[in-house]
Symmetry: C2
Subunit: 671 residues, 2 copies
């Protein structure tokens, strides 16, 4: 029965192909627009090419290490396969996004309707590729080997790739964004997307390499990890159902793809419609279809109803976490409004206020993840299903609709780029307004899906920890065991360390680029005044962002992997379990804090720009721009990398568990 997984995966990839055709046949617009789009594409491709070259070396080294140390000759190939699938999904998605942006901009001249559809379908190619490639890869390995543990290697390949893609893309995008923002708006008084701004093309490129390619790799990774964790637990915890517990994750994931395909199909916006509502409707519709489909299959295959309930608890919590995230970041809710208000007394109070609301925003999702895992556990146990397996199915539930989630998420940077292109191409006010509406809808849906993604990552890493426990046959990780406790204290320090390293990379590179932008305005005569025919040196900014990001791509990620192995080989399995537990806790804290505070500052600024507290150009606005700039690397570089980071750490731990159990310093010392 689990053949439903590869079938729906292939259907998903085929649909992505069809949507690609739809986007491709649209009119790419005027020569000027195509010129801008080409510049963006060139920059993005150049970056990705250089990034993938660096990563190829890394993958080669790691696969040799895996082959040498882990004994199993199949680990290295599946690891490489995972990296390639993830990289391909990211690349393909970005390729389409780069076509969709200019076509969306062009269609905006005729109104909202078709422009929205192009942007959304451009994003959907990414969404459907991610789930299609992910599930197909898992199915192939499982069909060939029948061994869920081997899929851990595949998942590790995808995760390591995602980590670098997020780190590299995240550093790139915010370097350019911060530089374009700060120099443009605050110092020189021209908008971010103004063609006179030398950083503008780099900024547009960044949206694609960071928000599209990086985000795709990120969710690819969570999606695969949640499935593999549930399969490993299902295989170890035994047969409590007529269909093997290890097959149900595949079946449900397959149904999730079908639900997402239906969701993508129904998303549409009328002439005067609201794009934000259309996206949210698509998400809710997908959830309902998924719940119904899984209920049907549960009856047909006589699967234990406890599994269905646990899965849908996950789905429901995802929606609830998304809605609370929305409350804390939305432009017309008290947190953003009060932060905007506080900007009147300067940037410092704006930062303190936004940061504080970010801290408060942790409570609902953490409580939600806690309640979701506890209720999934106890309900499963009530229906005689192992509780830990129930938690892993809740993670599957949350991630089942990832096809739809990513579609909505990738819509964001496509419409953001479309807006940029429209502005640079000098379109009419009315057209810009249309692209503005599209862009604003992207920001709203982004907040919800980010909350969703973090909640899902939380449940996924908890089930990865459960898989680690099951694989190592450990009784548990007792906080009062000094090994676990010490591991935990080190573990909680790693996500902040990683965040800091990527943020410092952003601030270092932005510093350099700001100097460069200032130099161009100083040395290129007529640039500031926008004299006819005078153009900034875009390419130099693109090149600076690329070089900077590539240099800082590896260190943070490699350090995290090394610390993980060090803790394991010194402290043994108990210490490693505590370490993973600690990193999950602090990873969740900072991922939520940074995503929410960042989104909040952004919307506080937009609230002022909409006319409150003096509007654009006021002192309050300047203060809010500073808050927004602080939030940029929070929400788009450090924050979203963290769930990938903890997934990578968990997978490294699981893969090396056997070796660590045998060889570790504590055991050697007889402690």
């Amino acid at each position: 029965m689990w053949v439903i997984a590869p079938i729906s995966a292939i259907a998903s990839i085929l649909t992505a192909g069809l949507l690609y055709g739809y986007v491709n046949k649209q009119d790419p617009g005027t020569k000027r627009m195509r010129g801008i789009a080409d510049a963006i594409r060139e920059g993005a491709n150049a970056f990705l090419k250089r990034e993938y070259t660096v990563l190829a070396y890394f993958v080669a080294i790691v696969s040799v290490a895996l082959a040498v140390f882990l004994g199993n000759p199949l680990i290295a190939p599946v690891y490489i396969f995972g990296s390639i699938c993830s990289g391909f999904a990211g690349f393909f998605g970005m390729h389409v996004a780069l076509k969709a942006n200019v076509r969306t901009a062009n269609a905006s001249r005729e109104g909202l309707n078709r422009a929205f559809l192009i942007a959304f379908r451009g994003g959907a190619v990414m969404g459907l590729s991610v789930v299609g490639m992910g599930l197909l890869g898992i199915s192939i390995i499982y069909a060939l080997t029948g061994n869920p543990e081997l899929i851990l290697g595949y998942s590790f390949g995808a995760s390591a790739m995602a980590l670098f893609a997020k780190a590299g893309g995240g550093i790139y995008t915010k370097t350019a964004d911060v530089a374009a923002d700060l120099v443009g708006k605050v110092e020189i008084g021209i908008p971010e997307d103004d063609p006179r701004n030398p950083a503008v093309i780099a900024d547009n490129v960044g949206d694609n390499v960071g928000d599209v390619a990086g985000m795709g790799a990120d969710l690819f990774d969570s999606y695969v990890a949640s499935i593999v964790a549930a399969m490993v637990l299902g295989a170890e915890l035994g047969e409590a159902s007529p269909v093997g517990l290890e097959h149900i994750p595949l079946i449900f994931a397959g149904l999730g793809i079908i639900a997402s395909l239906m969701g993508v199909a129904v998303v549409r916006v009328g002439k005067k419609g609201n794009p934000g509502k259309a996206l949210n409707f698509g998400t809710y519709f997908t959830c309902i279809v998924f719940a119904v489909l899984t209920l049907l299959i549960t009856y047909i295959l006589n699967i234990n109803i406890g599994i269905w309930i646990a899965t849908n608890i996950g789905l429901l919590s995802g929606v609830i976490i998304g809605i609370t995230t929305d409350y804390f970041t939305s432009i017309n809710r008290p947190p953003a409004m009060k932060t905007a208000e506080s900007s009147q007394t300067g940037a410092a109070i704006n930062v303190i206020t936004g940061f504080s609301y970010g801290l408060i925003s942790l409570f609902p999702p953490l409580l939600g993840i806690g309640l979701a895992s506890a209720s999934a556990y106890f309900i499963s146990e009530y229906f005689s299903i192992p509780g830990l397996y129930g938690i892993s199915m809740a993670a599957i539930g949350m991630l089942s609709i990832v096809g739809m989630i990513v579609s909505g998420d990738a819509y964001g940077p496509v419409s953001d780029n479309a807006k940029g292109i429209a502005e640079q191409a000098g379109f009419s006010e009315k057209t810009i307004e249309v692209t503005d509406m599209l862009d604003a809808a992207g920001n709203t849906s982004k907040a919800i899906t980010k909350g969703f993604a973090i909640g899902a990552a939380g449940l996924t890493v908890i089930s990865l920890l459960a898989a680690f426990k099951t694989l190592t046959k450990t009784a548990g990780f007792d906080l009062m065991n000094p090994r676990v406790l010490t591991g935990m204290l080190v573990g909680i320090a790693v996500p902040p360390l990683f965040s800091a390293m990527v943020m410092l990379a952003v601030s270092k590179n932005a510093f350099k680029m700001i100097e460069e932008v200032r130099r161009q305005f100083r040395e290129i005569p007529g640039l500031r005044e926008g004299k006819e025919g005078v153009k900034p040196d875009y390419a130099r900014c693109v090149d600076m962002a690329t070089t900077g990001a590539l240099k800082d791509l590896l260190p943070a990620s490699v350090v995290s992997i090394i610390i993980t192995l060090t803790v394991g080989f010194i402290g043994g399995i108990d210490a490693l379990g505590g370490y993973l537990g600690g990193s999950i806790m602090s990873g969740l804290i900072f991922a939520l804090l940074m995503a929410n505070a960042g989104g909040l500052w952004d919307n506080a600024k937009k609230y002022i720009e909409a006319g409150a507290f003096g509007g654009k150009g006021s002192e309050a606005h300047k203060a809010a721009v500073i808050g927004d700039t602080v939030g940029d690397p929070f929400k788009d570089t450090a924050g979203p990398s963290l769930n990938t980071l903890i997934t990578v750490m968990s997978l490294v731990a699981s893969l090396f568990a056997g070796l660590i159990a045998k060889y570790n310093l504590m055991a050697f010392l007889g402690l």
Copy 2:
């Protein structure tokens, strides 16, 4: 033998009295100085009086609740006794600090030597009162009842008091500081301590009610909690030593006081000496004396050497954590210098950079706490002492020298105030320079002692968790137990929630006060120009800060206690254990992050003020002032309250453990 504890406690209190006499007999200076000092004293006393009135109601309500719910008729009286001792130590310390500040300012006219001694001895009164009152209170209860568990009630009284004192004092001090800073330096272009600034007196008052009274209550609380945790564990884990395990904490704490008395006696600075070095020398000297004294008593009483080693591991880790903290916050180290450099590209990059270094700074102390607890555990076990008891003795080791630590810490606000008074009294450049040197030394020693205090709090709450485990006779807190896990996810959300509530209180109240300061500059003719005889309305700012802080004093603290009890009564002992574990982890994260990032921003600003990157008044300086202002509530309001918060949560959990074990929803549902 534990009679050594009350004897040295009484010696400590008597010495505090002598030092008080020394400070009191110094010349309080000119009429103008006394006028300023009187205004500060009036403001501080008015605040404390109103704060203690609010707290008296709270203490009354809680003691009734304790009497009704906990059955034991002695709990309520010891709880009240703890509150009173803590409140008294805070009040007495502040009373002396308010005398010392003006006398230090006056002595500065004759040079560094005596001025330093007055400031330090003024601080030492606080330090010696804290340890004297703390240990005497414990000794009295133990002598009367012989029951270490009852001392938990005393400790809870002290902690609850400390939490409110920190929250109330912290909100007050930063409300005034932020307002004085922002309006004065950035907008109007006059220094913080300028007599024209309407918020200046409120700012001086804040130093005393926040940094002196609040900090004293805070360390009183950690000190008492570490001793009581070790005693409870010692009593439960049995007799492994000729002297009962429950007595050793008292004996070692007594020796710690003797070491601190000797340390206080040797601190002195020559004519051209360095006050920062003198303070640090005092700390190191105290450490060595403590190590030697405890080694002697270990041989004399034939105490297991494992206990001595564990204790001194704690002490050593305290020093190491202090030194790494110093690296991350010190003015002439890369983190502060790079943050200062980044200020050239604006406030946002300054904030991102400082925050990032703050995140990195978590790693060494967390690793240090982890290694300290693990090595204390394993060494104790090696010498046949229960490992958890070893951890609790490491906490005692760290906190043994608290008398000296608080003396150096309280020196900070005294010299800060002295500087303020000297500036307002219009002293010569040379005198101001002397007070500047005194103040700078305070900032250096503050960074080290803050790291020390947080490390100690970390070990203390771990041993409180161990005490909770032992008292509830739980096997352990397994991360994979869904009750523990869910408790933990909620637990990690509480310290951020608490931090946010107090910081929002600061930003709300500062907002109001800034408006008020602006109003005074607008409406009082001649104020900005410093016209002879024109004075701002200081009292109104003092009153605003008082009212604001008192209104926001309770909510954050009460919410934390309510969540703790809710988790317990719903999830039972396991959930509560996980909850405490989680709150310890995130409490440590945010306490360290906020203290270090705050200190770093402060010194980055000072680095620029010393002439780098354009010096005072440059764009870089303006950016650095914003970072510093963000750091103000981080390092002086939210950060330092967190160790008290987690202590309070742990004590509430321990006190209600019996009741919760019997009555909780999960047990009621049969789960």
